[in-house]
């Protein structure tokens, strides 16, 4: 029956629409192929900024406060970039928060910090990245080759990585003693904290990877139709492993940023980050069922949440109220997206 329906969907030729489509194509592609949805987010963000400006005036609008909002969001933001890839491919990574905690614990071990002092602060960075990537490799292998549902495999990692971090650290907070590490990562570049730059670079690389490379195309193909991708000769399993490694790597980068900001490594770093990350990615417009992902949307989603937190803090509002508002925003954003998505579909069909 559905076959019959598609027969009738045969669209009429669209002579004069084509150039307009091409003209619009430029900026729409910039927004990750989902202009309307990202536009909705920009409007929501603008509204929130207006609320902030109205309630706390010049203090909210100051450059300093803007940088605060950005650096608050930058750590979660980096995790969200990896999460965007995983979700675009139809997967989920619940372990990002605790993997991030684990990376901070391992990188701040006395032995690692000693070795770093004798060589370079970069050793701590490498250790954090390696731990993140390894956790991702384990996740990906279990999911792709063990045929375990991503939700379960990464839920197990969420629990296990947190436990491992507690075991290793003895639940004690480990202070970062390496001065070079702190000096570099807590510095400002052109008046902007390095953490924000890191987020910007990760987001830019992520955008490029998703939209311009074969890696990105495979990711979208697997999320859009795994069986079709497999039958087209794409090495689906191997790619899935790479996706979780990527997610683990971003958790490692976030861990490095967290150590820099808090000057400590502890097993409680990154608690509930997985939920915030999934919320930001989905609010940003990446489809939870896979097949469509937008880095720009994810960045906007992250900014939306960190601005919200800032507005609440500026007005000395209770964090519980904030949580309720967050929940409402998630539902609202997704409801709005669905309307946009439906409209977009109709429009495309009608062209």
């Amino acid at each position: 029956m559905s076959e019959n329906n598609t027969t009738t969907l045969e669209p009429p030729p669209s002579g004069e629409d084509a150039p307009a489509e091409a003209r619009r194509g430029g900026w729409r592609r910039m927004l990750g192929g989902s202009g309307a949805r990202s536009l909705g987010l920009v409007i929501a963000l603008a509204l929130l900024v207006a609320v902030g400006a109205a309630t706390s005036g010049s203090q909210f609008m100051s450059v300093n406060n803007m940088l605060t909002i950005l650096s608050y969001g930058s750590i979660l933001g980096v995790i969200c970039i990896g999460m965007t890839f995983v979700i675009t491919a139809g997967g989920i990574d619940l372990s990002v928060g605790s993997v991030m905690g684990l990376t901070t614990v391992v990188a701040t071990l006395t032995s690692v910090q000693l070795a770093a002092q004798n060589s370079s602060w970069l050793l701590m960075v490498l250790v954090a990245l390696a731990v993140g990537a390894l956790a991702g490799l384990v996740n990906g292998t279990i999911i792709a080759y063990g045929n375990v549902v991503a939700f379960i495999a990464t839920l197990a990692m969420l629990v296990a990585a947190r436990g491992l971090a507690e075991l290793i650290s003895g639940r004690r907070t480990q202070i970062v003693t390496d001065r070079d590490f702190l000096a570099v990562l807590r510095s400002n570049v052109l008046g902007v904290p390095l953490l924000i730059w890191i987020f910007a670079v990760v987001a830019a690389v992520g955008w490029f990877l998703l939209n311009r490379t074969t890696f990105g195309r495979r990711t979208v193909a697997i999320g859009g139709n795994l069986e079709a991708a497999r039958l087209a000769g794409i090495k689906v399993k191997r790619h899935i492993v790479w996706l979780y490694i990527l997610s683990g790597l971003t958790a490692g980068i976030a861990g490095i940023m967290m150590m820099a900001r808090t000057t400590a490594g502890t097993s409680t770093h990154g608690l509930y980050y997985e939920l915030d990350a999934i919320a930001a990615v989905v609010v940003g417009g990446t489809l939870l069922v896979g097949g469509r992902g937008t880095i720009v949307g994810t960045v906007l989603g992250v900014l939306l949440f960190s601005t919200l937190t800032n507005v609440f803090t500026q007005n000395n509002l209770d964090t519980s109220v904030q949580a309720v508002t967050k929940g409402a925003i998630i539902v609202l954003a997704v409801l709005l997206q669905q309307r946009f998505a439906v409209r977009g579909t109709r429009r495309k069909g009608a062209l």
């Binding site: 029956m1 559905s2 076959e3 019959n4 329906n5 598609t6 027969t7 009738t8 969907l9 045969e10 669209p11 030729p13 669209s14 084509a18 489509e21 311009r212 490379t213 074969t214 890696f215 990105g216 195309r217 979208v220 193909a221 859009g224 139709n225 069986e227 079709a228 991708a229 497999r230 039958l231 087209a232 000769g233 794409i234 090495k235 097949g291 469509r292 495309k348 069909g349 062209l351």
Partner: protein, 510 residues
Amino acid sequence: MSTASAAPTPVKPLLVVRNLSKSFAGVRALQGVDLEVLPGEVHCVLGQNGAGKSTLIKALSGVHQPDGGEIRWEGEPVDLASPTAALDLGIATMYQELDVVDGLNVTENIFLGHENARGGVLRVRDARQETRSLLQRLGHQELSPGTEVGSLSAAGKQIVSLARALSRNARLIIMDEPSAILDSGEVANLFRVIRQLTAQGIAIVYISHRLEEIDQIGSRITVIKDGRSTASSLPVKSVSRGDLVRLMTGRETTNVYPPREPVPAEAPVLLQVQDLGLAGSFQDISFSVRAGEILGLAGLVGSGRSEILETIYGARKASTGSVSVQGRQLRPGSVRAATNAGMGLSPEERKSQGLLLEEPIYKNATLSTFARFARRGLLNERAEKQAAREQATALHLTPADPDRPARTLSGGNQQKVLLARWLIHGTRILLLDEPTRGVDVGAKAEIYSLIRNLAAQGVAIVVVSSEIEEVIGLADRVLVLDAGRTLALRDATAIDEHGVLDLVLKGNAS
């Protein structure tokens, strides 16, 4: 052999269907079906795939509402507005994909939707008691009411489905190809159950295309072809097998198939399949296909046609035998090895196995090759679009706009996108599973000539279709299959639709 009407019968008919018609989006699935069912008879409905049997079943079970004609139940005109309405009258349907819930036990399945409860509390003991008596009526008291249905065989599930029909006080049970999922011992048992039911006055509408079963179990026959009943309520004893085959298939052969060019004798063998087997599906399949040749696999549902293609392609891992391309053996179970060797598959389910529906045509067309267009991992979308546009033009894909989402295309054009994918890939061996499923009649002829053209350019093609006529019309040679075994390998000119059906029927009987 025009419509033969039944002689007046002393028994009052239970169900009378007159001139039933039903269209979907302009396509006429039924256009004048007559059917008369008496209490206690097994009325067989025969027809090929796509003849309209499923639509008829759905109209009788209240799933689809007919556009025209009338349905009478015990002489009264009735409106089967919903499945519940049909069930309330006493019409139950046993679908091929049995509608039992694996996670529930036998009793729970039987009373699903009409649970034996008082004030919302289930009366488990009563239900079990009733289940036991229902199973006894079916002669299957060995089934325990507490057994989880998921642990039963297909035959066991059918019994549960029948018991459910009885629990609803069904007086007419429609069985949609019940034997398709059973082995011969189980079929014999099913027939025993059917006889038990008819002895209790229950009427059975038995859908099948296996003629020898009808001889065994049927009382009368109605034949459907192209949505029309070509014969209605013929007594089984009065018609020969040959007559039935003609009634089922006797369409005038329209000239939609392009002429075959003889395959040059010096054409090299591209694909060699040797003793290929997949446990539980097919065994000992051997054939070779030369450049420019089209080999067709013909057989009924369950013959293993699609599984063979998918195994050759590496999407399933063969348990025995080998696949070689130009003499080089492929690693079993590796799609990558197959595509690298120049093989391409257009899968049976275009939408779920072939296409990224939300993505534009060009990304679908280059799904196997985008990495080849890329340089150091960087996509070259311009080159991809160019290649897609060229193929779209060559294949007369309309519209030839590479940016259009695949979802908006008709079935025929979606098929062309898949062909484009493998043409861009440079495929030398093309495996086509149901290339014209969901494709309208006009576009079918176009797809046929495209396939023929590809062969003429030296591509070796293996084609599978549930329409036997299509396989024979398109292929140079035909491999006839049944239940995963080779029955015959013939030149397409040396066999016709009747011949294939005959072979399959004989194969089944043995």
